[in-house]
């Protein structure tokens, strides 16, 4: 076969079928329907198999992207899944929710001239195939006797747990809510990430022998220090996330009808408030909804509102579309579904009626001035531009802060915003305690949290002095990479270092 060049590959990115916009706002089914076998093959052919592999470096969890794409071309989808599973147990989830345009696809060589290879869609294709076919990639694991505790069953914790379990550790994840998944479960709506997909991929984590204890509020039921010093855990990983919603501090935020996107989405996703009164958790969504903020969470809240029957959904954002932190695809879908965007609009007060319910938001029009610290142009109020925008529900989606519980209950060093201080290796100020994800970095993405979880796992293994390659057998001895770790890294000792544990 002739060498692939930018000229002879399919020039257009293979489109993904989507549910039509008018139909889909009547249901919670998935919007993007996924690739067929032919679509996937066609798109896989667009990968040049360039030697630089910038995509691998662009992936927070270091997936062998050309490898899994090559297996699609070879029509060996099972092998493709095994390659993905080396680095991520959640390809069907990540293929859907990763901001690929900023990561693997953002650095794809094809993207210099054409649209980049649709790596995310291909990842999802293989992930869905694995769910449908029931593929697992569970290695035979030789237990090493170490006990690992993970705090929080969200993306960071899951990724860390998987790596530690593969290394032979006995892993327990502690989750405060009654269902695992963290933001995947309470935050991201069904039509973007169906619950059966989360359940199926989480099942693969359980198949590695990971135990999950729900309804367990670490910090209050027992502390991080107790886990390490009294409960027999050799290492602890904290991935509790940043889910502590921000408000603006403007008048009227205590009115009924004002809520955080976290609350709104948790009621809908985790508690199924959309089915009230069949389920018991109420939602209280009005007819005309204003969502403040224009990030991905705002898009989720608006699109859920439309599906639950809101007549009008407006996005109030003090900057413009260009500065919006949402993914292009999300903005596009929201617009298609009928969200009305009011750019350069900043709320200054929420107004209530006699019943203490929201009746309007007083807003100001803005214009863009000089760039601020974030490099985005700063919105500046336009004098005398105030107006009242009538609505009955106001949803805040302007970001979150650090969850305070671990900080309140342990001696872990925090930074001035309350996030846990961790170094590049994800180690914290307490020996044997590691942290990663939003609780360290502040609000970011699912995949960045997973990347941090994997990095932490690597450090935890070094800290414990374990070799996760020796004494283990894999289902396929031919493979060059074992559990995502390059075989050349094979150099470890299997020694506990008690002195180091206690003196550090």
């Amino acid at each position: 076969m002739a060498k692939k060049t930018i000229r002879n590959i399919p020039q257009e990115r293979t489109p993904i079928a989507t549910q039509d916009a008018t139909g889909r706002i009547g249901n919670f089914d998935e919007v993007a329907l996924g690739y067929s076998d032919d679509d996937a093959l066609l798109e896989a052919e667009r990968c040049l198999m360039c030697p630089q592999e910038p995509c691998v470096a662009g992936c927070p969890v270091g997936i062998d992207i050309p490898g899994f794409i090559q297996s699609i071309i070879d029509k060996d989808l099972r092998a493709s899944y095994d390659i993905l599973a080396d680095s991520t147990l959640l390809p069907a989830i990540c293929g859907r929710v990763c901001p690929q345009e900023d990561q693997c696809e953002g650095v794809c060589v094809v993207g210099n001239h054409l649209e980049p290879v649709a790596i995310g869609r291909l990842e999802r294709f293989i992930g869905d195939m694995a769910v449908a076919e029931g593929w697992t990639s569970s290695p035979v694991i030789e237990p090493n006797g170490y006990k690992v505790a993970i705090v929080g069953a969200g993306p960071a914790g899951i990724a860390c747990a998987a790596d530690m379990a593969k290394a032979g550790c006995e892993v327990t994840i502690f989750e405060a809510l009654h269902r695992p998944g963290g933001v995947l479960t309470y935050g991201i709506p069904e039509f973007r990430l169906p619950n059966p997909i989360i359940d199926a991929e989480f099942q693969k984590v359980l198949e590695l022998g990971v135990k999950v204890e729900c309804n367990t509020l670490v910090g209050r039921l027992f502390t991080v220090e107790q886990m390490r010093d009294e409960m027999g855990f050799d290492v602890v990983f904290i991935g509790t996330g940043a889910g502590y919603p921000s408000f603006m501090g403007i008048p009227g935020e205590s009115l009924n009808g004002v809520l955080s996107a976290n609350e709104f989405l948790t009621r809908c996703n985790l508690m199924q408030a959309g089915e009230f009164p069949q389920t018991d958790t109420p939602l209280g969504l009005g007819r005309k909804v204003a969502v403040i903020g224009a990030g991905n969470t705002a898009m989720d809240a608006m699109r859920v509102s439309l599906r639950l029957g809101a007549e009008e959904v407006h996005c109030l954002y003090r900057r413009t579309k260009a500065e919006s932190p949402a993914r292009v695809e999300e903005l596009h879908h929201a617009k298609e579904e009928g969200v009305i965007f009011q750019w350069l609009t900043a709320p200054v007060e929420i107004l209530g009626d006699d019943n203490n319910d929201v009746r309007a938001v007083r807003c100001m029009r803005m214009e863009l001035g000089e760039p601020d610290a974030s490099g985005r142009r700063r919105p500046v109020p336009i004098a005398n531009s105030e107006f009242e925008f009538e609505c009955d529900t106001v949803i805040y989606a302007i970001g979150t802060n650090a969850n305070p519980i671990i900080g309140q209950t342990s001696k872990l060093k925090l930074n001035k915003w309350g996030y846990i201080e961790a170094d590049k290796e994800q180690s914290t100020s307490l020996a044997g305690v590691f942290a990663g994800g939003d609780i360290v970095t502040g609000s970011a993405t699912v995949i960045l949290a997973m990347g941090a979880g994997r990095r932490a796992a690597q450090s935890m293994k070094i800290y414990l002095g374990i070799n996760d390659l020796e004494d283990m057998t894999v289902s396929d001895p031919e493979r060059q990479r074992i559990f995502g770790i390059d075989i050349r890294q094979k150099r470890f000792s299997r020694v506990r270092l008690p002195a180091q544990v206690h003196s550090a």
Partner: protein, 291 residues
């Protein structure tokens, strides 16, 4: 799954459940709360811990059957049955300071959760005045428990059928008169009661802590539904509280926010009541044939 070890009904609406959870029993401190789910479709409801015993490995909850979920619990939660979820202890424990004399005030549903505080103050060597209010004599519970930890116990009833006739605020007035050296008052009960307790002590400037009970979902700081105004600042009751300085709390706002789902709550209860009536009607014949 969390097994119910004991149940006691204090009245038509108020009942006590003792639930097995040794770890929680060991960790719980006065002033903390738990979140309970009856079943997988249920809502998460916050309940202040009314008692805990590390020896028995149990926590005790006192519940008033007022809405759909609490009525359902009244019907379903029997000894030996299980709760779908029980998580906690949540919130910052009450600060049990070194005070010489303290009044622990409980009204209605707040009678039970003020007990652990009274006991803790007693254990720290304080002179504890218990002030507990009920509608009438028949509804009184835990009198002996309170007597065992209080140096003085004032029972208030609306109709005067036991103790003094009047509200807990009358009890507070009586206590303040007899004991000008009360250093701290702790009040738990319906928001309106706590509001007036705080007003009763404001002129004398006696430190008055209250335990708030706003609407919440997760109880871990994630949803912000439980936000309350304290001293003009927004606080999340679940992680910043539930205890706050009663002189600083905006109780009117709290009461307005508690009415947020009034309409939904009514609908849910109506639906449940009519469904359970239907179930009862359907079940009756089958019971009689098997009898």
């Amino acid at each position: 799954m969390y097994k119910i070890l004991a149940r006691e009904d204090f009245s038509d609406t108020t009942f006590m459940l003792e639930v097995l959870h040794p770890m929680l029993a060991k960790a719980a401190k006065p002033g903390q709360f738990v979140i309970v789910m009856v079943n997988a479709d249920g809502e998460r409801i916050p309940l202040t811990i009314a008692d805990f015993s590390a020896e028995r490995g149990s926590v005790t909850l006192v519940i008033q059957a007022v809405g759909k979920t609490t009525r359902e619990m009244q019907q379903l939660c029997k000894v030996g049955s299980v709760l779908y979820a029980l998580v906690g202890p949540m919130g910052i424990p009450s600060h049990i300071g070194e005070v010489k004399k303290v009044a622990c005030v409980g009204g209605g549903l707040g009678v039970a959760p003020v007990f652990p505080q009274a006991r803790a103050f007693k254990q720290r060597g304080a002179f504890v005045i218990g002030i507990i209010g009920f509608r009438s004599k028949e509804l009184i519970f835990w009198e002996d428990k309170f007597k065992s930890v209080c140096d003085e116990l004032i029972i208030c009833t609306d109709d005067g059928s036991a103790g003094i006739k009047g509200l807990v605020t009358d009890g507070i007035a009586q206590a303040m008169q007899a004991h000008p050296d009360i250093e701290e008052v702790l009040a738990i009960g319906p928001p309106v009661m706590m509001k007036f307790c705080a007003e009763a002590t404001r002129p004398q400037g006696i430190k008055t802590m209250v335990s708030l009970n706003p609407i919440m979902v997760d109880g871990t700081g994630m949803c912000g539904g439980c936000r309350v105004s304290v001293g003009g600042e927004m606080k999340f009751c679940c992680v910043d509280g539930p205890d706050f300085d009663g002189h600083q709390v905006d109780f009117d706002e709290l009461m307005r926010r508690l009415g947020r789902f009034k309409e939904e709550e009514r609908r849910s209860l109506e639906r449940w009541t009519s469904n359970s009536n239907c179930r009862l009607l359907q079940e009756e014949p089958s019971v009689s044939t098997h009898a």
